[in-house]
Symmetry: C2
Subunit: 258 residues, 2 copies
């Protein structure tokens, strides 16, 4: 077992992808990568294909986080195995709480008293930015995911987020595309309005917290999913005075991929 300083190396599970430029594309896994880096903990990423998530997590003794539409247990990543404590858990907010509790001398992800607020923030960011997913999924199966993951991903998203509609059919086209992309813009604008510039660069002002990793995760997803010269990325990177790529810059020192 590898050791860095006093600590053994944590195993971190993220999703695999086709190439270097789309590596680390999943917004939820970014929340945990940012968390591990922010706390300065040693970790190593294992890149999983979708069909391998369930058997890998089961073998590691990591509990499912939710239930599939058919009622069977749903295993999700991000997940970590921490050999320092023997803990193996999934779900980015659960992981963040565990890391704060286990490593209280490292920088804090969820400042005292803000747990419910941080949790609500993560939830509402999803509500507002979620319209982006119907656009992103098609690009993901075309450019981001390996063949081994594509079928699983198409089936899973059709059955959960897209409520019975295929990724292909859910992709907004024509007038609907304009309308739905307008919702994505409005969603980012809502978040921008919460984070007034005069209060600082981060959700809590000058203090970095888990909430920034939630927003940063969404922006990372957009940047990895679309090409840099795509209209989608050009739009997102200019919205709200260019604050979204600027957020990634501000979080850059916690963005290394280990």
């Amino acid at each position: 077992m590898t050791q860095v300083g006093d600590l053994k190396v944590i195993t971190f599970y993220d999703f695999a992808s086709t190439k270097e430029s789309t590596k680390a594309w999943n917004p939820n896994c970014w929340k945990t990568r940012y968390s591990l880096n922010y706390k300065g903990l040693p970790y190593k990423t294992i890149w999983l294909e979708y069909p391998d998530v369930e058997p890998t997590l089961k073998a590691a003794g990591i509990a499912p986080t939710s239930t599939k539409p058919d009622g069977s247990p749903m295993y999700t990543i991000p997940a970590i195995e921490d050999p320092n404590t023997g803990t193996a858990i999934a779900e980015s907010f659960v992981i963040a709480q565990y890391l704060d509790k286990t490593y209280p001398d490292k920088p804090t992800l969820i400042p005292a008293g803000t747990k419910a607020l941080q949790s609500a923030f993560a939830n509402v960011s999803f509500v507002h930015v979620a319209p982006i997913l119907q656009f992103a999924y098609l690009i993901m199966i075309e450019n981001v995911l390996n063949p081994k993951s594509r079928g699983y991903f198409c089936e899973a998203r059709k059955n959960d987020i897209l409520r019975g509609v295929s990724i292909e059919d859910a992709y907004p086209r024509g007038e609907r595309a304009k309308e739905e992309w307008g919702k994505v813009k409005a969603g980012f604008e809502t978040i921008a309005n919460w984070m007034n510039k005069e209060d600082g660069r981060f959700v809590m002002g000058d203090t970095v917290s888990f909430a920034d990793f939630v927003v940063g995760g969404w922006v990372q997803m957009a940047k990895k999913t679309w090409d840099e010269d795509s209209q989608e990325w050009k739009d997102i990177s200019t919205w709200n005075g260019g604050r979204w790529p600027r957020l990634l810059e501000d979080l850059e020192k916690y963005a290394s991929i280990a």
Copy 2:
């Protein structure tokens, strides 16, 4: 101009209602009532009928807070006029920020660094609890609002929240009622899950903050809208281990109606 101690009395605008038992029924106005009481500021309520809101606020020099579906300015309450500073403003979160800034020696509504989180919390609580409105509106026009307000209220809600459907038609009946009431229950449960019991009675643990007034406002609305022996109130008051009426008890010392 009345004066209490060193401070002149703030004017607070809330909505009128038919009788004592439905008095102070509006969830947004509760956020400001709780805020004023929590800070211990002297105030006096002016109870307005819906058609009187716009002319009253215009006369007081209070700016509109949003835009009606037809593009014209929308004047909303809660609103306050503070003779101590000559400030006249609307919208509960704006008012809370103003009160914290103007009266920093009084208890804090929005603890340092939590502005964006508190704002997001208010927003997401609305998203989750909003399915209750389609049930509540019909009871409001029958039992809570005076005749002078009813027509305005029906027209306004049809044109904004209910997106073209009348209050009468929007009221869920039969199987749909079960399904939609299930969403209300799920919404309260989501909020309950953010506020783990082991962390304290309030959103921020043992510290009261604006977020509690958001949740408390919703519960007050439910309690005032439905009779105490209605199935609706019985349901809400037993959900999540009875925590919603308990929250009102915990906030009782900030709930006086002046």
